[in-house]
């Protein structure tokens, strides 16, 4: 009774503070209100007081040791490429300015610095209603030297990948949005993509090909700017951009050495060789592009979407090549000792794309989605070349002018009907028609063919079910069944069935299960093609987190995949029919087990163990193991010590010499604020 009395003492004075009641205004949707109240007061302060530190985050630094790589170091570098040394393994921190002067918040994250193959850093800075800025930089190592790849000399015991490279790509991206949250948002961006390094390639002549070193250097700059209009019922984005591009690849062989190439047998009594080479590509390109996007909530039952995209990149090329040696022009049975080959070429690629669609909601449970899409690409190129050959006492000059074109006009139209049969069941049915034509030509003709053309005609039936019987279970399936009257390529989708199904089940509050199934069955029964392709994957994953993961949790997945492909071709030298068979039967599993170990002198260590494996049989039988274990020792609230072990083991059934195995151990500290 005394409690009720106390309650009354609290409540009664509060009633006394109640202001005069006013007539309530009808509720308006937020968008509508946004239009009617564009001059309203500025933001009120957040109801949540900020008592956070101006700097929060963590940084991981450490040192990695790599044991000697057993097996193929080149394959290891092509696939893993992690090395020893001190590393900035990761950083993630946030700066907050409580006074909101130049910025509200800056977030920075970085990953893998210190001569690592994948070095990234990302920054986001924002100030409410004034700007959003993001910057991203990645420095990626591209190394590829697989001993089994592009090695025509393997039978002679020479391991030399004639298409290898050791390059780095550096990607930078900056974007500035002004007045975020406003109805009018201008933005500007700059992206840069550059690559440089060295590699091996081949210098190809009529009768021989010579492995030679090359240097690679290319750069693309993309500048763009635009404005977004975001209104109550309508949005439009207009963007204009452009690129500059250059590619200065060069291929060379210094004088003083003789390269006998891949052909050791004499031709017309002579062996061919290359004693000096310099070939340089000078490629310069530009492009402009335009982008127009819009969405509109035309009425409460109709949304409209559309986009128009246009780009027109072009390139101009000056190629210069000088070569000396004993070389053969096969068409004229002419041996020559020096060659100069000059090409001046240009290409242009106007490319127009667009889409238009609508979502119509005629009834509460029914939605109709209609969309149309087109993509039109018309490439045209020309090349003028001059070749001067000099032999013993004679020289010959040949000039050629070639024109090329590549055209494709692709369109598709689709209509889908969605029906919410019950609050737990949604059915979907639809139809898509795809059509297009393509043409590829080079003039004047050479050999048997200079022009190819094809038509694309495809009818696709679409169906899907989403079933959500309880909060704990979700099942999604969708399927496509297609019949084609033409396709661009022998291996293109033709008569196909595609099925995708997913199920999720929250069995317990601590245990969730998920299953994923995909199937693609594609057949092209046209005589001369006889393509039979079937790919199937089944996955099962689980996440177990007893007691909210306070002591232990586990997540794991297992995937079984099979791929079967048969397609006919003629063996070129005998023109006898043959079937290309490709098989891939794979098992893949991933797992990660986290456990908090018993306290030792106030320290609560945490152990994570798991990894992945991939084992396949078939056309390229391969095994790849990546087990790992990490131990965390929090020294205090701000510093943790960690030690990480990883093993990489790779093996192939057919190319045994490509296998490798190695251990990596990393130790370091995490500083947290």
């Amino acid at each position: 009774m005394s409690r009720l009395l106390a309650l009354m003492l609290i409540v009664v004075p509060l009633f006394a503070q109640t202001p005069e009641p006013q007539a309530p205004k009808p509720a308006s949707p937020p968008a509508e209100a946004a239009k009617t109240d564009t001059t309203a007061a500025a933001e009120a302060p957040s109801p949540v007081p900020s008592a956070e530190s101006w700097l929060t985050g963590s940084i991981d630094v450490g040192y990695r040791w790599r044991t000697d790589v057993g097996g193929s170091l080149d394959t290891y570098r092509s696939i893993v490429n992690l090395g020893s040394g001190p590393k900035l393994l990761g950083a993630d921190f946030t700066l907050t300015d409580p006074k909101h002067r130049a910025f509200d918040q800056i977030r920075v994250r970085a990953n893998g610095w210190g001569d690592e193959p994948y070095q990234t850093v990302h920054l986001d800075a924002k100030k409410s209603k004034l700007y959003d800025f993001s910057a991203d930089y990645r420095d990626m190592a591209y190394f590829n030297f697989l001993p089994s790849y592009a090695d025509p000399l393997m039978s002679r015991g020479i391991v030399l990948n004639e298409q290898s490279f050791d390059t780095r790509r550096r990607l930078a991206s900056f974007q500035l949005d002004l007045l975020p949250g406003n109805w009018f948002i201008p933005y500007f961006a700059y992206d840069r993509d550059s690559g440089s390094g060295t590699g091996a390639t081949t210098f190809v002549t009529d009768t021989n090909e010579f492995p030679v070193p090359n240097t690679l250097r290319d750069q693309t700059n993309l500048y763009r700017g635009g404005v977004r209009f975001e209104l109550r019922r309508f949005h439009a984005t207009i963007e204009q951009g452009g690129t500059t591009f250059k590619d200065d690849q060069s291929v060379f062989q210094g004088s003083g050495s003789t390269n006998f190439g891949n052909v050791a047998t004499p031709i017309f009594g002579q062996t061919t060789d290359l004693t000096n080479l310099l070939a340089a590509y000078g490629v310069r390109g530009t492009s402009v592009y335009s982008k127009g996007l819009f969405t509109a909530s035309a009425t409460p039952w109709l949304d409209v979407y559309g986009q128009f995209l246009y780009s027109q990149p072009d390139t101009n090329v000056n190629y210069q090549q000088t070569a000396t040696g004993n070389l053969l022009l096969q068409s004229q049975l002419l041996f020559y000792t020096s060659q100069q080959y000059l090409v001046s070429a240009a290409a242009k690629l106007p490319h127009t794309s667009g889409s238009l669609g609508a979502e119509i909601r005629p009834l509460r449970r029914v939605r109709i989605v209609q969309s149309w899409l087109t993509d039109r690409l018309h490439s045209a190129g020309s090349a003028a070349s001059t070749q001067t050959l000099a032999g013993t006492g004679a020289s010959e000059q040949m000039a050629a002018l070639l024109a090329s074109s590549l055209v494709t006009n692709y369109s598709q139209e689709e209509v889908d009907l969605f029906f919410d049969a019950t609050p737990k069941l949604t059915l979907r049915g639809g139809y898509r028609y795809v059509w297009g034509d393509a043409n590829d030509a080079v003039l004047p003709p050479e050999g048997l063919m200079s022009s190819d053309q094809a038509k694309l005609r495809r009818n696709v039936g679409i169906g899907g079910v989403t079933y959500h019987p309880t909060q704990k279970i979700t099942i999604r399936t969708d399927a496509e069944v297609a019949s084609s009257g033409g396709a661009y390529f022998r291996t293109s989708l033709y008569d196909y069935q595609k099925v995708h199904a997913q199920a999720r089940y929250q069995a317990l509050t601590t245990l969730s299960l998920a299953a994923d199934f995909t199937l693609l069955d594609n057949n092209n029964p046209v005589p001369g093609v006889n393509y039979d392709y079937r790919s199937q994957q089944e996955s099962l994953s689980l996440f177990w987190s007893p007691a909210g993961g306070k002591m232990v949790d586990f997540q794991g997945s297992y995937t079984r995949s099979t791929l079967h492909s048969d397609i006919g071709y003629l063996i070129p030298q005998t023109l006898t029919p043959q079937t290309s068979l490709y098989r891939d039967n794979a098992h893949t599993a991933t797992a990660l087990f986290n456990v908090k170990l018993p306290h030792v002198e106030g320290i609560a260590p945490k152990l994570s163990a798991g990894g992945s494996f991939f084992i396949s049989s078939g056309s390229r039988a391969t095994s790849y193991y990546q087990p790992l274990a990490t131990l965390w020792l929090p020294i205090n609230k701000k510093i943790s010590l960690f030690a990480d072990w990883r093993y990489y083991g790779y093996g192939e059934a057919f190319y045994l010499y490509e296998g490798f195995r190695t251990n990596l151990v990393t130790t370091g500290l995490r500083f947290t604020r």
């Binding site: 109801p47 949540v48 790849y149 969405t295 993509d375 199934f517």
Partner: protein
């Protein structure tokens, strides 16, 4: 029993108290976010750190002081009954209905221009499957770190994630890339919800600019069907992420020297090649036809 009565009385008192303090212009049926806070304080506080807080504080958006009810609907009945049945819970709605709430504000933004082409939208994957509406701390409403993005996508696309465990793969498991570097989860004009470069070119060119061209002599499949004609972008046991175990097999399946009888034609089948595939020289086509993505100077893609 007595304590229950006391709790109910306290709740009523608190509601009345808060009602007295909220703006007097609340429409009928609305109670204001401060009232929601009484029972849902943790969500309310988290919401305060969310970008969605702008709904609560910006009068321009029309829901000032009623941020909770902008998605959950008028809550007066719910406060009176304290029953979950009397409040709209977007998490329990069918995906289209939940999305409609989000799209009330977000439809008219460039992010959603590809929505009709999005398989997520078609498969009833609602916005809240990926976005946390109330809070995600400083990360905003959705994961931003590559590793976290990948984990989120992999939780549904398990078999795609399995492909990244193959030896030759894009560097997602290493945390150097994320799924959204290549795919736009909201939909795209390009197949497979792929990102774009310079308006309508394939997103692959964001990183592989040296393959962009335009080339004087193009290789048709690259333009017509994209990189996936020859490469498995997620991962493969084959070198260079090729779709077949050896280069020559990739090439021969199209350049089959076997004309089809289809009247609509097929590109690249003829002329027949007379290379002797028994010779190691001809077992890797790209040893000679090295500019397989397109050549600036040679019609046969030799240089």
């Amino acid at each position: 029993m007595r304590s229950i009565k006391l709790a109910v009385l306290l709740l009523i008192a608190a509601c009345v108290t808060t009602r007295a303090q909220t703006p007097a212009t609340l429409p009928a049926g609305y109670i204001g976010s401060e009232t929601c806070k009484i029972c849902h304080e943790d969500i309310y506080n988290a919401f305060g750190k969310s970008p969605h807080q702008a709904i609560e504080t910006n009068a321009k958006r029309g829901w000032m002081g009623r941020g909770c009810e902008s998605c959950h609907g008028a809550a007066q009945k719910h406060t009176e009954s304290a029953s979950a049945a009397d409040i709209r819970n977007p998490a329990k709605l069918v995906a289209a209905a939940a999305d409609k709430i989000c799209l009330t504000c977000h439809l008219n933004q460039p992010t959603h221009v590809g929505r009709l082409e999005s398989s997520h939208a078609k498969d009833q994957v609602s916005c809240t499957s990926c976005h946390k509406v109330h809070a995600n701390g400083p990360n905003g409403l959705v994961n931003r770190k590559p590793a976290a993005i990948n984990e989120q996508c992999a939780s549904c696309h398990t078999n795609v994630w399995a492909q990244f465990q193959r030896p030759n793969h894009h560097k997602l498991p290493e945390g150097a890339m994320s799924c959204v570097d290549c795919h736009n989860p909201h939909g795209s004009i390009r197949p497979a919800m792929a990102q774009t470069f310079a308006a309508n070119e394939p997103g692959c060119l964001n990183c592989h600019g040296d393959k962009r061209g335009p080339f004087t002599f193009e290789h048709g499949p690259v333009r017509f069907e994209g990189c996936a004609s020859c490469h498995e972008p997620h991962g493969s046991a084959n070198p260079r992420m090729l779709v077949r175990q050896e280069v020559r097999i990739v090439c021969l399946e199209c350049h089959a020297s076997l004309p089809s009888v289809n009247t609509t034609g097929t590109i690249g089948v003829v002329p027949p090649s007379f290379h002797d595939l028994r010779s190691p020289r001809f077992q890797n086509c790209t040893v000679c036809h090295q500019k397989v993505h397109g050549s600036y100077v040679d019609r046969n893609l030799l240089r």
